[in-house]
Amino acid sequence: MSFPGAAREALGNAQLRRNLGKATTTIRDKRARTVAELPDWEALRDAGAAIKARAMATLPEQLERLEASVQRAGGVVHWARDGAEANAIVAGVARAHGAREVIKVKSLVTDEIGLNAALAEQGVQAIETDLAELIIQLEGGRPSHILVPAIHRNRAEIRRLFERTIARDGALSDDPPALTDAARRYLRERFLSVPVAVSGANFAVAETGTVAVVESEGNGRMCTTLPDVLVTVMGIEKVLPEWRDLEVFLQLLPRSSTAERMNPYTSLWTGVRDDDGPREFHLVLLDAGRTQVLADEVGRQALHCIRCSACLNVCPVYSRVGGHAYESVYPGPIGAILTPQLRGLKEAPTLPWASSLCGACFDACPVKIDIPSVLVHLRGRVVREAKGRVSAERAAMGAMAAVFASHKRYERAQRLARLGRGPLASAALPGWTRMRDLPEVPRETFRDWWRSRA
């Protein structure tokens, strides 16, 4: 479905509007307060942007450094051109260990490539261990937010879901501790018995081969330390050149995402050790359209994203329509520039228009991705690629451009507009007047008045 159509459906859901509005407003205010505490926030944003730009400019070199570092530390590195290749690699590792189940750390990239479904086809069940991801999995739904995938659900809805699924034995309350306790009891058994874990990566350091996962609940720490085998799938854009680069991002990310000074759990691991943690570590480096994004000089900054979701929470569009309308694991403003680039513009041609260009996303972005400029750039690409096709919009834009190219023609068009005719009057489209009145065209233009004064 197109974004406008999907958005129209979502906008009619009063419960969704209420849940989303409340959640985004709360986190938006909290983030503003937490960010204001740091006097060097702008310098940190500049540093974050510069590190990412460097990593992308030297990507082949950084990835080879990362591969060598991981191998040196006893890990195995795999390269995957697309989701299918990555899924096959993960399934292969699970099968080699006879695993019928794998436990998962919250990960966007594995959602992007549909890992759970691919594993299920191979007879391997993936169990989500992040509370919100578990909720989504249990209800068979789709995530609607990068950081809080079940943001569209409220407590009562979650209680009813748990009572139907993992806590059938007793009545729960809407109390968050009671709900998390039910999830904890269900998950603990899996943490202690499942031999293979799958994670994504927030960062991977080329210098040392260290992979980092930043989280709040501790389920990630369980997954990355308890099972014998750990497989990490990461998009190639997640690589950071140096260890010291982490200093910048571990300040930027928590404040931008959960509005915390520091997140509760930051797990860092480098290959394998004999006496602790997994005995086997696999790192899957995934392209899946990223090198193609890198080839676009304007659009490539979308690869700098650290998945904090600050742009979602401040977006007036996202906070009303929610994540599902974007039909991607990457919703909101960042999704509107990332999804069409990763999948190809033809797959998501309406997303670059899913923004009023208000600029709130650019202001909030911890790595200064100029999302409005990329949106406008992608709009230009969509229009250019459709060139030659007849459309009322293209004709109107051409006619208006011709009018504006000469002030004589423009003045004639102004006179016609007063009569409700011509290129300037045709801007009065049904989409506008269905819901809003148009101003009457005044009898006298500004320039008429100006001349009458002389």
Partner: protein, 227 residues
């Protein structure tokens, strides 16, 4: 006497001439000599933001040529100023949005206006986030005699206009506008003011449709008032 070239914008010229007239009268009252280069049309923002970069680029270059010799250019549109600044290097330092010009160049906040009405100010996205005009429009309004200026809730949030966004994503745009309207009506203001008539056409279009009894005015119209 400061010589000022007025960039009125095609939108104001055609649909909101009163914003242009108010700007001229205000600038003249403050001792400026205003010139209106009649060859001006559109700066290209609409084409550019709609994906028609070629048309947009041609119009932006045309703007540059029309205003080439002007030492100071003033405009009553934050959005158009932001577009030109981002695309015309030579506009830097000589193109001003009205509130910037009044506060920074002329050094005035009290322009001698009198407007005994209850007013709320929508600060506009492009004033705030592209031009960073900050509280200049509010300070100018605060100095107006008799004005009852009431703060707007969630003021910094977009009204949902966004040019073709209002048409292409009409439902989402309307959802944003509903919330903006709710906040405007909660102020019990009789006037909703802004530094961009495009936002005002959007907000005003819904206020009129609802017979809400709230009118919209460009900030310049209030600053020139002597009621």
């Amino acid at each position: 006497m400061t010589a000022v070239s007025l960039f009125v914008t095609c939108f104001n010229d055609t649909l909101f001439p009163r914003a242009g007239r108010a700007t001229v009268e205000l600038l003249e009252r403050l001792g400026c000599e205003v010139d209106f280069p009649e060859r001006q049309t559109c700066c290209g923002q609409m084409h550019f933001n709609s994906g028609y970069a070629d048309h947009g680029e041609a119009l932006t270059r045309r703007w540059e040529e029309v205003f080439q010799g002007a030492e100071v250019v003033v405009s009553p549109s934050a959005s158009c100023v932001a577009h030109v600044r981002a695309h015309v290097a030579s506009a830097t330092g000589r193109l001003f949005e009205l509130s910037e010009f009044l506060v920074d160049r002329l050094g005035v906040t009290d322009v001698g206006a009198s407007f005994p009405h209850r007013v709320t100010l929508h600060p506009t996205c492009h004033s705030l986030r592209l031009l960073r005009v900050g509280d200049r429009p509010r300070r100018l309004l605060e100095a107006v005699r008799g004005i009852d200026l009431v703060a707007l809730g969630e003021a910094e949030e977009c009204c949902g206009f966004g040019g073709t966004f209002a048409v292409k994503n009409a439902d989402t745009s309307m959802a944003m506008l509903s919330d903006k309207l709710r906040h405007v009506l909660a102020t019990r203001a009789e006037v909703c003011a802004a530094a961009d008539t495009s936002c005002l056409m959007h907000i005003g279009g819904a206020l009129r449709r609802q017979r809400a009894g709230v009118r919209t005015m460009h900030v310049a119209e209030i600053l020139v008032a002597r009621e």
